[in-house]
Subunit: 121 residues, 2 copies
DNA sequence: CCCGTCCTACGACGGTTCTCGTACGATGGG
DNA sequence: CCCATCGTACGAGAACCGTCGTAGGACGGG
């Protein structure tokens, strides 16, 4: 990394090109929201293939592209793998508290729907 | 209001039927986000015709229905007019802080895009 | 009772999205 | 050098979305 990513770079929107509507739309799909939640659960970057999604690889590529083009995630190549990281800082600067609220809301809904017993441990 | 809305009732989702994805999707359209912002700017309920939207009445009806069916607004008839109010309490209970974050983000983006000079007065 | 206003229903259209399968390029290990 | 792995590109189809126009129903005022 750091300087070894000269080849195969990917286009990302600048902070001032990130649109709230685009971010909300990106997060309004269950598959993509699940990706973002997994990404938010760790500080590390995760490869596309790390995710266990109920769609094919083609569709996975599509969803990651939507997330990247809306400015939610940053993607960098690492050998054959493509690593994904949340653009926390930019999003926090543009829309303070928004990402956290959505993640908390997703967690709340997940607990409400998938675990009525509320597993705390 | 209070008890005069016996006729012509509209179907609204219960709090436990409101889905985060649905709310985010409802808010990801510029017209609908504009409606929600206007609604949030006042405590009063507003009629559909009060809004000055760049679409026809048919489309306006469609957008209000999306907002109602996703659980974002509550609609009640008042004579020939249909009044619209944000479901602040339910949303705050289900997804604490989410609505506020989105509204702040929309305001921030509006200031960033529409008013680079930042009109404060 | 009639009419104007407000909103809805229905049908339609064009565009976008989500999904897939298959075929293809890029990288790194043996 | 070959091959396995990872991701992409390119169709392609089904579904959905945003938009409109027209026609029609409900309400309130004169």
């Amino acid at each position: 990394m750091t300087e070894r990513d000269t080849v195969r770079t990917l286009a990302h929107p600048e902070p001032d090109e990130i649109r709230l509507e685009g971010v909300l739309h990106a997060l309004s799909d269950p598959v993509r929201l699940s990706i973002v939640r997994d990404l938010a659960a760790t500080e590390a970057e995760l490869s596309c293939s790390h995710f266990d999604l109920p769609v094919t690889k083609s569709t996975t590529t599509h969803h990651f592209r939507v997330l990247r083009e809306s400015g939610v995630v940053r993607q960098t190549y690492r050998g054959t793998a493509k690593m994904n990281g949340l653009r926390r800082t930019e999003l926090q600067t543009l829309f303070p508290g928004l990402l956290d609220s959505v993640l908390e809301a997703a967690a709340a809904e997940g607990a409400r729907l998938g675990a009525p017993g509320a597993p705390l441990t």
